[in-house]
């Protein structure tokens, strides 16, 4: 063993044999030890209070205490010396007992000096080894806790995108890692050109307000500029006296030591941590600073990610806004392309049209169109483009434009579809397709020629309220294969009949239980609807679908188009011979005229004629008998509205009444006198016959005036 290792160690000799003690003391001193001598336990205790002893040579037989007992108590202390027990031959058992009790060794009296030297050396050596181990262990433990701290910080940064939360955890870990009292995190606010506090750990309540609101200006002279210039950590164990840290922040909250760590992102300071110790003077080894620098690098990664995430979110929001506004614009374009005002289109054709389209998404792929053709005929079409959204809408608009061009060319329905098909097949890279049903209607003749392209079968609703599907081949879809033929057929529309076109979004509407609306419900919704308008038909069907789906999300666009031949089944009334019944009959007449599409002026003329004729019949032919009735029939025939009044009363020809007088006194004309000139004045034809037991008055009003 090297002599140096022994130097400085203190040996305490505890023996009441003064001579022996002194010999041992001299001997050991020569060997380089510092020696203390005690002759009793009490004395030994006193000496131990004042000095750090490495080895104690203890005589078991001491005057004032049991040696083993004393030793036990001694060993119980921290930094107790190694105890070597001195004992005489006679008490070898006690020596063994002492060793068992923790003695480092024993020597038998009389002791040999060499033996003493050897034992002492050995004990000291062992103590050194133990100390060394302890130190190594402590170091290892420290390093372990460093690693733990780093791992904890990494995890914190990896598991949270919330920047403030992550920074707070880093502050916490920094405090733990460095044994500090408090830490705060700052981020650079470029607009304010300052570091703004974002998170902190363990800030005392009384300082919190100040810390939370104090911002460190970047250009402030009292702030350490090399932080920005050199991007290095700055620390001081005497903050108050440190000229570099002059900013009021460092003075306002007094602290002994401080450590300022820069966060460097892309070679620029993006923030900093400040760690403080209230009272401790803290210095840092290069190793520690290195470790802390690595912590800051980890945080910088988080900062970068947070910034990128923020940017991505903004882009995402902007993009969404763009898409949604694009969809809104597309919806406007598309809905303005679909006709909504049908009156002008159909006036004078003897037909009326109404249509609706409800898109499933903001932009729909269903289409309909109404076109006026030469000869006062009407072209109607309803179609469904494959897919939804903007691509479907654009394809739909293309198809509509092509259809219009072809229809204006005067082609008939089937040829129209063939032409459209060929044109759409030409440039269709996405292979979109469309199903269509179209028709050309002649309101005067009542003929309707229709053609089908893979579309749901149209429904015919008669004036009497019977609804049935049209017969015929459904045909195939348009836009996929060129050169196809499309089946067509003709159907006769009587006055008041309505043809209903619809898209499969109607029949394939689902209720909350997942059932489809279907053809049966479609027919059911329309059946029984009579004497009405195209609009009423569309409304009825639309309402039925809405009621069925009961608010469930629509899966497909819904389109409905109704084309109706104006007119109605003849009105037949049985009217009682009293003024109220006559007036009521004129109301029914007006309603019928509205449904039949007869102009108001003509309807009012007819109403007047009916009132005058009815009153005449009631008064003269039926003599106002309470239970008597007369019959009225009104029909639209060959450009006229023909009004027939029949009664079973006494023979009476109202048309024979004398013509009006213009001289005064004409007011004394018998009752009913005024009525006849009025009837003749508003009707274009008037005739009376007696048919068996019936008076038959036939009046007609031309409808083209």
């Amino acid at each position: 063993m090297e002599g140096e290792k022994l130097l400085g160690h203190t040996v305490l000799v505890i023996d009441d044999d003064y001579e022996l003690a002194s010999v041992l003391a001299d001997f050991l001193q020569e060997r380089g030890y510092v020696v203390l001598v005690a002759n009793s336990c009490a004395a030994a205790r006193k000496l131990l209070e004042g000095a750090t002893v490495s080895v104690a040579l203890l005589d078991l037989r001491l005057p004032d205490a049991d040696g083993v007992d004393f030793m036990r108590r001694l060993l119980a202390h921290e930094s107790a010396p190694g105890v070597v027990v001195l004992t005489g031959h006679a008490t070898i058992d006690s020596a063994a007992a002492a060793v068992e009790a923790g003695a480092a060794g024993y020597l038998l009296k009389p002791v040999s000096l060499d033996g003493v030297a050897a034992v002492v050396e050995r004990v000291i050596e062992r103590r050194n080894v133990i100390e060394e181990n302890a130190r190594i262990s402590k170091e290892r433990a420290e390093r372990l806790s460093e690693v733990e701290a780093l791992l904890s910080i990494s995890t914190a940064l990896a598991t949270t995108l919330e920047l403030d939360e992550a920074l707070r955890r880093v502050c916490h870990d920094l405090v733990r890692l460095t044994g500090a009292d408090t830490a705060a995190a700052y981020l650079l606010d470029q607009q304010r050109d300052a570091l703004v506090p974002c998170a902190a750990y363990h800030v005392p309540k009384q300082h919190f307000e100040y810390l939370a609101t104090s911002v460190i200006p970047v250009r402030d002279a009292g702030f350490y500029l090399p932080l920005w210039r050199d991007r290095q950590a700055v620390y001081s164990d005497d903050v108050a006296g440190d000229m570099r840290l002059r900013h009021s922040l460092f003075r306002q909250i007094p602290h002994q030591s401080g450590l300022l760590l820069p966060l460097v992102l892309d070679a620029d300071v993006a923030g900093a941590f400040y760690v403080a110790w209230w009272t401790m003077r803290r210095t840092f080894t290069d190793q520690e600073l290195d470790l802390l620098k690595r912590v800051c690098e980890e945080v910088t990664v988080l900062l970068r990610n947070a910034r990128l995430f923020e940017k991505a979110k903004t882009y995402n929001d902007t993009f969404r806004e763009l898409v949604s506004s694009e969809l809104r614009i597309a919806h406007k374009i598309q809905s303005s392309a679909l006709p909504h005002d049908f009156g002008p289109l159909t006036a004078g054709t003897g037909l009326e049209v109404h249509a609706v389209m409800e898109p499933a998404r903001e932009v729909g792929g269903d289409l309909y169109d109404v076109l006026r053709l030469p000869g006062d005929r009407l072209f109607v079409v309803l179609g469904d483009v494959s897919g939804k959204g903007i691509p479907a809408a654009m394809f739909m608009m293309l198809a509509t434009a092509l259809l219009r061009a072809a229809a204006r060319g005067g082609q008939e329905a089937s040829a129209l579809l063939a032409r459209l098909n060929d044109e759409l097949c030409v440039d269709n890279p996405t292979s979109m397709f469309v199903t269509l049903a179209c028709a050309v209607a002649d309101g005067a003749a009542g003929t309707l020629r229709y053609a089908m392209a893979g579309h749901p079968t149209p429904v015919l609703l008669t004036a009497a309220g019977e609804a049935h599907l049209l017969s015929g081949d459904a045909g195939t879809i348009v836009g996929v294969l060129p050169g196809l033929n499309f089946p067509s057929a003709t159907v006769q529309l009587e006055p008041g009949d309505t043809l209903v076109l619809y898209s499969d979004g109607v029949t394939e509407s689902f209720d909350p239980q997942g059932r489809a609306f279907g053809e049966d419900r479609l027919l059911g919704a329309l059946a029984g609807l009579t004497a009405t308008s195209a609009r009423a038909v569309v409304d009825r069907l639309q309402d039925a679908v809405h009621a069925f789906t009961a608010g469930a999300e629509p899966s497909d666009d819904i389109a409905i188009l109704a084309v109706r031949r104006l007119g109605a089944a003849p009105l037949v009334l049985e009217v009682r011979a009293d003024p109220h019944s006559v007036v009521e009959a004129t109301d029914r007449l007006r309603a019928w005229c509205g449904a039949a599409g007869i102009a108001t002026a003509a309807a009012e003329d007819l109403a007047l004629a009916l009132e005058e004729a009815g009153t005449n019949v009631a008064v003269h032919a039926l003599a106002r008998r309470p239970e008597a009735t007369f019959r009225v029939r009104l029909a639209q025939e060959g450009g006229e509205a023909v009004l027939e009044v029949r009664d079973l009363g006494a023979p009476f020809n109202p048309l024979e009444a004398p013509p009006p007088m213009t001289a005064p006194g004409y007011a004394e004309q018998r009752v009913g006198g005024l009525g006849i000139p009025l009837i003749r004045g508003v009707m274009t034809r008037a005739a009376w016959v007696r048919d068996g037991e019936e008076n038959v008055l036939t009046l007609a009003r031309a409808l083209d005036q």
């Binding site: 003024p579 109220h580 007036v583 009012e604 009006p660 009525g675 004045g681 508003v682």
Partner: protein
């Protein structure tokens, strides 16, 4: 449909003004007849009928108006109709104009006529 009758009297001018709205048919003519009986107690020489709201008139209604005319004072009295709709004008034209029952196209036209009548009276 019913008939709405709104009355306005101008005693100084011995004129009653009635606005009719709705239909004057064989049923509502009876209502008008009753109202006029109450109103026209001899105080008025002139009955002005504002027909802006009248949609329909039949012989029954005309008969009531003719009876009303008889209640108006002689000479420059009468029943004047203003603001009649085309359908109503057509009916009057079929019946032909009667003295003292004049259909004016507007209040302005009526005032013009009355002004002319006034001057005639003044000139003697």
């Amino acid at each position: 449909m019913s008939l709405t009758i709104q009355t306005e009297t101008m005693d100084a001018e011995r004129t009653a003004r009635i606005a009719l709205e709705g239909r004057l048919d064989t049923v509502t003519a009876l209502e008008l007849e009753k109202r006029l009986e109450l109103l026209l107690d001899g105080r008025y020489d002139r009955l002005v009928l504002d027909l802006a709201g009248l949609e329909f008139i039949s012989s029954a209604g005309i008969r009531v108006l003719v009876q009303a005319r008889k209640c108006m004072g002689a000479q420059d009295g009468g029943v004047f109709m203003v603001n009649a709709r085309p359908q109503i004008v057509k009916v009057f034209e079929i019946i032909k104009a009667l003295p003292g029952m004049i259909v004016f196209r507007s209040d302005a036209e009526m005032d013009q006529y009355l002004g002319m009548m006034q001057r005639r009276v003044l000139r003697g």
